[in-house]
Symmetry: C2
Subunit: 211 residues, 2 copies
């Protein structure tokens, strides 16, 4: 490739190819696509990259990456102060916002994962427990990933909360976990056995009047 | 999203999402991945974008995008001057280089495609015919895509060459097309019927001594 393609094209294909999920062929195709874009559009790209980290801070309340501290969500008094969704990362907040969750958030910054050398002390768990001290929050929704590490993280946090309640540092509150089951629009036969058995476990009354 | 994510993050996700094959979710994931990269790495990205079009020119011989005119391949006298592979774009040159083609190239800049308003006059066909005037080239390999438009382009060029030979503006030469057939490593049962019938048409003697 070094003989065929100009250095500037190689340079862009190289950085693009360093992105997760983008292999060398895709990087090449994207680079040639970009060659066809106007110069001012390329400048827009350049600017977006160089300014990415500017004006960013971490919200001291919920630990999300934001432009202000506290962030817009924590500053929003119209939200339900009693419900707190504990998530792993900012994109989870985005997802729950789209699902119209109206409570507040706490962003852990990851999940407990021994293989990746991430322990509880590497996540914003102590900050979470401090927030529960104010006793404003009545329900903690453990919205970590429905995966092995996500479950381990949820379990750890639940135990921490239980201990704090026992010690009396926080008042009793409700700890919940998002439902496991069949995704909407799915097909029963394609569901994996674990998901299907959890869907069976979590079955609820069908008729409205029984609820 | 405008309430949740900082402007700089939105800006980068937006430009990334404008790339072909990259949807909003992937754009978000890539942006958050990039948030974890060092500032100097982000600057490398910014620089690659802003410098992409610098120092680029078109080789007046083969029409490839290059840093010099003529390009490194056209300047390479060790290559076989008698074989010319006609391709649609620079990435095809890259592909043939990997396949160890040792002749020279001509880059058309696309394919004849009425739907996309690309006619022969929009491609580097007249420049190709001019190159053939020198009579150095003994074989033209029509290496356009094995698709409808690629075939139409190859057909058009072949007819132009035939006319030029009849008129006497160029000497008789060989015009060839890359073989159609089963890709190496494939599985017969998964081959589509067109490819399979072309593979049958193009069958060759198996035993070495018959060649």
């Amino acid at each position: 490739m070094s003989k065929v393609l100009p250095k500037s094209i190689q340079a862009l294909a190289e950085v693009l190819g360093s992105l997760p999920g983008i292999g060398p062929k895709t990087a090449n195709r994207l680079t040639f696509y970009l060659l066809g874009r106007e110069s001012h559009e390329l400048q827009r790209f350049a600017q977006a990259f160089s300014e990415l980290r500017e004006n960013l801070t971490t919200c001291s309340v919920c630990q999300i990456i934001a432009e202000s501290d506290p962030c817009p969500i924590c500053s929003d008094s119209t939200r339900d102060q009693q419900k707190l969704a504990v998530v792993e990362e900012a994109l989870d907040v985005l997802a729950l916002e789209k699902a119209r969750f109206n409570g507040r958030y706490h962003v852990l910054g990851g999940q407990i994962s021994p293989i990746n050398h991430v322990g509880p002390e590497d996540l914003a768990i102590s900050q979470l427990l401090e927030r529960l001290n104010s006793n404003e929050i009545k329900e903690v929704i453990l919205a970590t990933d429905p995966s092995l590490e996500g479950e381990a993280t949820a379990l750890y946090i639940d135990e921490q909360i239980k201990s704090a309640v026992e010690l009396g540092t926080i008042k009793e509150l409700s700890v919940t976990r998002l439902a496991r089951g069949l995704p909407v629009g799915g097909d029963l036969e394609y569901a994996d056995e674990l998901t299907l058995s959890r869907a069976l476990e979590g079955r609820r009354s069908y008729s409205q009047k029984d609820q």
